[in-house]
């Protein structure tokens, strides 16, 4: 697969269906693994990083579940290409900014990806649409088993999988769920909910991952601990927490309808109108409007909007994607106009 081919579609996890898809956009499980025979990437020289890449790519060739996947060497890609992979949630900013000795494995539908030589030798992730952590775990567990038959992982029976950062030691698993919580934001309950989440040792972040601010009412919630619980226990705990947040959001949505239905409808429909007609739009504004349209769709205020198209726009409107679509460098202003055009086209806005 050439990197340009990624532009023809978006990840399977953006299809907008699955359990609780009206509030949960996607679920992700990731595992960190290190190879016992090499020092961790942060303490390795280029030669060692390249050896790890080679050993991994040979192992992948022998694993049935990873047939048809593509391994990108980070140094073979330019900065925009790498940024595009970050925007698709396939890898971290850190992985893009320091490409030497690093790689990324992606399966055809973008369900599975593996960062090689990020903070740990392997960071395996599986993405699913809706609230579907258990399915994501089943997939990643099978891939991990297959990799463990080929590679010797750093592991101690007493402490589990050994990682560069002790916050990951143990299961080295993080389950996270992307939630859309506009009604909790509008009814000013979100801070209370986030505070409760952090008290329970879960973390919340923005749409674009670690270190990002929440935007457009999207929050990513994930577990923090990786010792003292089994993987399936951790997933059950996250599911339990997420179900409570879903319930809170549903109640807040009903409260909004009861209190001021015309106001809510006005907000949703104006957002829809703006997206279909705007000529210049920043990504921040676009994401805020997407949030309102999505809410309108999930509450039955808007009909005939394609959930999948809306989800795909989150990825397409980001800077590297716009530049790949246009096949040239764009400055900030050019991006804002291109973004508006991409949105109008995707949402079927007539060029009035």
């Amino acid at each position: 697969m050439r990197i340009e081919e990624l532009l023809n579609h978006t990840g399977e996890w953006l299809r907008g269906t699955g359990p609780s898809a009206h509030i949960v956009m996607s679920s992700r499980v990731r595992l960190a693994r290190n190879l016992a025979d090499w020092t961790f990437p942060g303490k390795s020289v280029k030669k060692d990083l390249e050896a790890v890449l080679k050993v991994f790519s040979e192992a992948v060739g022998r694993i049935e579940a990873l047939k048809g996947s593509t391994l990108f060497g980070m140094t073979e890609l330019d900065q925009v290409d790498r940024q595009m992979l970050v925007e698709r949630h396939l890898m971290s900013h850190e992985h893009a900014s320091n490409p030497e000795g690093k790689g990324l494995l992606v399966t055809a539908e973008e369900v599975v990806s593996v960062m090689i030589n990020e903070e740990d030798h392997l960071r395996i992730q599986v993405m699913r649409s809706g609230l579907n952590l258990s399915e994501a775990w089943d997939i990643i567990n099978a891939i991990d088993d297959a990799l463990a038959r080929e590679l010797s992982f750093a592991f101690l029976p007493s402490w589990g999988f050994l990682t560069a950062c002790p916050t990951n030691t143990g299961t080295a698993m993080r389950g996270s769920v992307m939630m859309h919580l506009p009604a909790l934001v509008m009814t000013k309950q979100i801070n209370k909910v986030l505070a409760a989440i952090s008290k329970l040792s879960f973390a919340s972040r923005g749409f674009y991952g670690e270190g990002t601010q929440a935007s457009g009412n999207f929050y990513q919630i994930s577990n923090q601990v990786s010792l003292g619980h089994s993987e399936t226990d951790i997933i059950q705990n996250i599911n339990g927490l997420i179900r409570q947040v879903i319930e809170q959001e549903e109640q807040a949505r009903q409260a909004l309808l009861l209190q001021n239905k015309p106001m809510l409808e006005d907000k949703v429909c104006r957002s829809w109108g703006l997206l279909k007609t705007a000529r210049i739009i920043s990504s921040q504004e676009a994401i805020e409007l997407f949030s309102m349209v999505r809410l309108g769709l999930d509450m039955g205020i808007l009909k005939h909007v394609d959930h999948k198209a809306l989800n795909e726009l989150f990825i397409m409107i980001q800077p590297a994607h716009l530049q790949k679509i246009e096949a040239k460098k764009l400055n900030a202003f050019e991006r804002d106009t291109k973004r508006a055009a991409v949105i109008r086209q995707k949402l079927g806005g007539k060029d009035v």
Binding site: K43, W159, C165, T167, L227
Partner: protein, 177 residues
């Protein structure tokens, strides 16, 4: 608004610092903010921030530290570097820094007992060897009754950190039964 440090670039990062109950605000450009945060990491040590490590590790006398600093037997990462940056160098660091890490892992995760999956290569032949090696960690020296009494007295004394430790021990014992 221009940056408070360099006075040239536009301030985009706004920092509130509280020192000795005095609150001060700083407005910084991205570059100066990055430098400032690097300085702060140096001051506190990332691992300290992670888990309040400093109060669990009793440093040996400083003289002894200078002569024979603790480091990993395989990758030679000094323990001091781990304390500063919060990243280990290789799997052997876990053995070299075992005593320090045991407390740290408990602080981070609320437990230092692994209950997750075991890779197939560790399930058969390796298990016999490793369980022998690991045994000292798992020796049962305390009875359930004894622990429950200790838990009551720790709660009565409002020593909740100790109470949590004892609670974990009780859970571990009960799980074994």
């Amino acid at each position: 608004m221009t940056c408070d440090i360099c006075g040239k670039k536009k301030a985009t990062v706004h920092l509130t610092e509280i020192v000795d109950e005095q609150m001060s605000e700083m407005h910084l450009c991205e570059e100066c903010a990055r430098q400032k945060s690097a300085q702060m990491e140096q001051q506190f040590g990332l691992a300290d921030l992670l888990a309040g490590l400093s109060d669990t590790v009793k440093p040996a006398s400083s003289k002894e530290n200078e002569k024979n600093p603790l480091q990993c037997s395989r990758c030679a990462l000094p323990y001091e570097d781990f304390r500063k940056f919060g990243r280990l160098g290789c799997s052997e660091c876990y053995t070299s820094f075992k005593e320090h890490l045991s407390g740290l892992l408990r602080k981070i995760h609320g437990s230092n007992k692994y209950l997750g999956k075991t890779p197939s290569s560790f399930q058969k032949e390796n298990l016999a060897a490793s369980s022998k090696e690991e045994r000292p960690l798992l020796v049962v020296t305390e009875t359930l009754e004894g622990l429950k009494e200790q838990l009551q007295s720790a709660i009565a004394a409002e020593d909740f950190e100790r109470a949590a430790e004892i609670r974990d021990k009780i859970r571990n014992l009960e799980q074994k039964d």
